[in-house]
């Protein structure tokens, strides 16, 4: 799928164990972060990642503790600023494999600006946004992704503001890769492999269950009994089917919206079900905007259409402009409006 992917480094042979640190993990027992950590540690050997060449950069929040638990280089920065720090890391050394771990508050509230610009610039990195729709580390205030009416210490009578939609935000910011999964999904490593294979900014929203402050808020589609009706796993070249193939997503050509259609006897062609094309930006927009309830939750790689990445462009321009020029500090300091003072006075 991804023509721009170039494997410049040799594959490193590692196992899940190689990616575990000696640090005691300090998330609440039962937190969804544990499952995501395992999925990442399972993914890294799959993609042949080299611990010495891998950097995890995070902001602040429960999710941002992540780098301490991965045996690679890690930088736990400040609230919301991981994308900015990561941009400096990648521009200074484009060979590094950079992962950003953030949350709904870190990435969409205090750091929303940086999230927008890293996606717009298309820095080559993986951005894992753990969305638990709550501020966990500060003890349970509602977050920018909390649904209307969320009761929390700061909104005891229910929140009144509209939630942000992370994947819609990412697409709106110009992201070239948008995927969605949830903490305990068995498909999560595959989604992460695809994100890593994408050269450019790969945005992955991971629904994460905060068992203390927002327990089971995604149960409507993550629980086993709700999975069939609630989950639509999209795959490039495959029809958008769910509910064991009995329902599909079709285009309402009149209203220019998506609609759920019944699929009889597996005949999805007849029901006009859309075949997923990860390079179709318009459909991607519609899939991430589907309201849950009337529609299932779209999961998997929703959009993947690579474009030249930021650090490649910066390096190319730097090289092009430096080509044929010899750095000469002495010459540089003596450039400009110059004159020479001689025994007989100044001359040009």
């Amino acid at each position: 799928m991804n023509d721009l992917t170039t494997l410049t480094r040799p594959r490193a042979e590692t196992t899940l164990k190689d990616w575990e640190t000696d640090q005691e993990v300090r998330w609440c027992p039962g937190c969804g972060d544990y499952a995501i950590l395992k999925a990442v540690q399972r993914t890294l050997p799959m993609i042949g990642a080299d611990p010495a060449n891998t950097v995890f950069v995070s902001g602040i929040g429960c999710s941002s503790r992540f780098p301490y638990y991965v045996e690679s280089y890690g930088f736990h920065t400040i609230h919301g600023r991981a994308p900015a720090v990561a941009t400096g890391v990648k521009l200074a050394n484009p060979d590094l494999d950079v992962w950003i771990v953030t949350g709904d508050g870190d990435g969409l509230s205090i750091g929303g600006n940086h999230s927008m610009h890293i996606l717009r610039r298309n820095l080559d990195c993986q951005i894992l946004l753990f969305n638990n729709e709550i501020y966990g580390l500060t003890k349970g205030q509602y977050s920018p992704t909390s649904r209307e009416g969320t009761r929390s210490p700061s909104t005891p009578f229910g929140s009144v503001d509209h939630p942000a939609k992370p994947c819609a935000f990412a697409l709106g910011s110009g992201a070239r890769f948008v995927a969605r999964a949830y903490d305990v999904a068995k498909q999560l490593p595959d989604v992460l492999v695809a994100a890593h294979a994408h050269k450019g900014a790969a945005f992955v929203e991971i629904f994460q269950n905060c068992i203390v402050y927002n327990k089971d808020v995604f149960a409507d589609f993550t629980e086993k009994k709700n999975a069939d009706e609630g989950q639509l796993w999209v795959e490039h070249g495959k029809p958008l089917l769910f509910a064991k193939g009995t329902k599909g997503i079709a285009l309402d050509r009149e209203a220019l919206t998506l609609k759920v259609v019944e699929v009889a006897d597996g005949d999805w062609q007849n029901a006009d079900v859309i075949v997923h094309d990860v390079t179709n930006r318009a459909i991607a927009h519609m899939l991430v905007e589907m309201p849950f309830g009337p529609f299932p939750m779209a999961l998997g790689v929703i959009y993947d259409d690579p474009a030249p990445s930021f650090e490649q462009a910066v390096v190319a321009q730097n090289e092009q402009l430096a080509r044929g020029k010899t750095p000469d500090l002495q010459k540089l300091v003596g450039t400009g409006q110059t004159w020479t003072v001689t025994k007989d006075g100044p001359v040009l």
């Binding site: 780098p67 400040i78 720090v85 610009h117 402009l321 004159w339």
Partner: protein
């Protein structure tokens, strides 16, 4: 002077003090002779407005006009011409915050002042001797600062009813006698310019744009200057529009010819100013912004590091981003970030990855960067933060100068967050200060703030191009293997600096962050004793820098009646004021502090050797407070917060007041 500063640094400073001492020793005679001869000749050409109380070893000229009149350009070219005439000089551009202020308005006036002379010049001058006013608004906003008896050159063509009204003049000041304190040379520069460029067929508007060159031509005549360098510059500037080049050259020549041939209303004659003594060598004009950019490049090169510069546009700091973005062949990557925070955060990321991270801003932007500075302090990564100070608080005075960010630089972060602070005193000095900031950042694994200000950033002065081989390299060292006893990312060397470990290095994987670190291992650690130990380590590391720093004395003895203590761009006026008072026989010393934090180790004892301490600052007394706090000395403030640099006379008066 820091004993560890680059060799060239120390040498430049030494030769500078030697020069000053020489001047001081010989000044008595020279001044007398100079004043005798010059006063005699001044009498014979009485029109030249050189104030009689001061020996005419220097002249201050101010070009003022509408912001569309090209006054900064005119000033810049007059500066080059002055340098080529061998005069020492200093300049001060003073332009409005508005990009295109409505024409003719008081707030749209743009001015450029130059002080030049036959001996060393360190300020842009107090009151102008000559004011060139291109319109009524320029006259109104500047004339009150002109010396009594000074010369006004005004363009009558612009003194029409509309412009007089915009400048809020009830009557034409050129005609109502209100300018009687000064000499006025008023004629229709607009018409003369139009006449001179007639053959080139320009539109009226474009033709009038040549006014500044006409005026420059007159100024060149006035000071007996060669026009050729300006002609060459015009040809190069308008290479793509030769008719504009020719028109401007014609205007320049016409202005010059006018001075030579016309019967001027007041008997102005040419003044040829003797060149100032200057060591032989290659010179250039340099602004502070240029010098800082070059110094940062030099610093990175001396450290054998690529430089990463993260910036966000802000006045008056943007010029540094502009300069550096053109220097890619020197291993410079510039990144215009989405905001001030991203600018510093990306620089920290780059330092983490093994480049020299640099960011730059002005007061409000520096405030936004505060939290990230704490991160750089906690993670102990090298970083240079340039603060081109401007008037504050908040948006304040974006285009005016102030040195009111000293508290912010030294104290302005949450937690006990010590950070070295260095302040440049002049455009040329900014070069060495930038190198020094890079050195400390790398050798001590710490963010360093380099303070400059709007005045230094924009002002230009002649700079003897340094011999780069005179600077001692300070190559950065990266840890590249597991040391004996295992990897300890927060182990300490003799400077208390931790090792710099680049991601990408095999076997050295580790995690850092803003949470309190455990001594040696760098693991997260909230234990009370550990925080105490780490806070003290961070403090001691920064205080340790002071061991290498020795405070020198700019002029005077190491004890006595009064020390005038300054920092940053007040160097010039303080220096001149102290010289003047010493010439009158008073026991006064000038101490200039470059290392604002940590203060040089001997500064406390030095200050205590004086009976009195005066601290002139363009703020309400920030260094004064710092000195009182650190040394319990009775430092007295002299404060100016008008957005304008100190005048020599203001400081001179304060010194004399202290000596009474």
């Amino acid at each position: 002077m820091a004993s560890l500063s680059p060799k060239g640094n120390a040498r430049v400073a030494r030769s500078f003090s030697t020069l000053i001492e020489k001047v001081l020793r010989t000044r008595g005679n020279r001044i007398r002779n100079a004043s005798e001869t010059n006063m005699a000749s001044a009498a014979s050409r009485s029109a030249l407005p050189l104030a009689s109380s001061e020996p005419p070893e220097a002249v201050v000229v101010r070009f003022a006009g509408d912001s569309g009149d090209g006054m900064q350009l005119t000033g810049g070219q007059f500066t080059l011409s002055t340098a080529l005439a061998g005069n020492d000089l200093a300049t001060f551009p003073d332009f409005p915050a508005e990009i295109r202020a409505p024409q003719g308005t008081l707030f749209g006036v743009s001015a450029f002042q130059i002080n030049f002379g036959s001996s060393d010049i360190t300020t842009a001058g107090d009151a102008p001797d000559i004011l060139i006013a291109m319109n009524p608004a320029a006259l109104k906003t500047n004339v009150m600062e002109l010396k009594a008896g000074g010369l006004i050159i005004a363009d009558t063509g612009e003194f029409n009813d509309r412009n007089l009204a915009k400048a809020k003049y009830d009557a034409n000041p050129l005609e109502d006698g209100s300018l009687a304190r000064w000499q006025v040379l008023a004629f229709d520069i607009s018409a003369l310019t139009l006449e001179s460029v007639k053959p080139f067929g320009l539109g009226n508007k474009e033709a009038l744009r040549c006014k500044n060159m006409w005026t420059l031509g007159l100024a060149l005549w006035l000071f007996d200057r060669d026009r050729q360098p300006i002609v060459d510059w015009l040809k190069a500037k308008f290479a793509k529009a030769p008719e504009l080049a020719e028109a401007n050259i014609a205007a320049l020549n016409a202005g010059h010819a006018y001075g030579e041939t016309a019967e001027l209303a007041v008997p102005v004659k040419q003044l040829h100013m003797a060149p100032a003594p200057a060591p032989e060598g290659l010179y250039r004009t340099v602004t502070g912004a240029e010098a800082i950019s070059l110094g940062l490049v030099a610093g990175a090169q001396l450290a054998s590091l690529p430089m990463f510069f993260g910036g966000y546009p802000i006045t008056p700091a943007s010029a540094i981003l502009h300069h550096l973005s053109r220097l890619k062949e020197y291993g410079v990557t510039t990144f215009q970030a989405e905001d001030e925070i991203a600018a510093i955060a990306s620089a920290i990321g780059a330092s983490y990855a093994g480049a020299l991270g640099v960011t730059s801003s002005s007061g409000p932007g520096i405030a936004l960067k505060g939290e990230a500075m704490g991160l750089a302090i906690m993670t102990e990564l090298p970083l240079v933060i340039v603060n081109s100070q401007r008037g504050g608080p908040s948006t304040g005075l974006p285009t005016k100068t102030e040195q009111s960010d000293l508290y912010q630089a030294v104290y302005g972060r949450n937690g006990d967050a010590p950070m070295p602070v260095i302040a440049a005193r002049s455009p040329a000095d900014a070069f060495d200060c930038a190198i020094e900031a890079c050195r400390i950042a790398i050798q001590y694994m710490t963010p360093v703030m380099l303070l400059t200000d709007g005045y230094i950033a924009n002002a230009a002065e002649p700079w003897r191009v340094p011999d780069m081989s005179g600077y001692t390299p300070f190559p950065a060292k990266f840890l590249d293997h597991v040391p004996e006893g295992g990897l300890k990312p927060y182990a300490r060397n003799e400077k208390l600096a931790r090792p710099w470990i680049k991601p990408g290095t095999p076997e050295l994987m580790h995690r850092i962050g803003g949470i309190e670190k455990e001594v040696n291992t760098g693991h997260i650690n909230y234990a009370p004793a550990n925080h105490q130990a780490m806070t003290e380590l961070r403090r001691d590391k920064i205080f340790g820098i002071a061991k290498d720093l020795r405070q020198d004395i700019a002029i005077g003895n190491d004890n006595g009646k009064l020390a005038v203590v300054g920092w940053g761009s007040t160097f010039g006026p303080i220096h001149q004021a102290v010289r003047r008072v010493r010439r009158k026989g008073h026991d006064v010393a000038h101490i200039h502090i470059r290392h604002v934090w940590p203060l040089p180790e001997n500064l406390g004892d030095l200050l205590k050797a004086y009976e009195k301490i005066l601290v002139p600052e363009m703020n309400t007394g920030q260094l004064k407070t710092l000195l009182r706090d650190q040394y319990l000395v009775d430092a007295r403030p002299l404060n100016k917060i008008s957005g304008q640099p100190f005048r020599i006379a203001e400081i001179e008066a304060a010194i004399e007041g202290m000596l009474e």
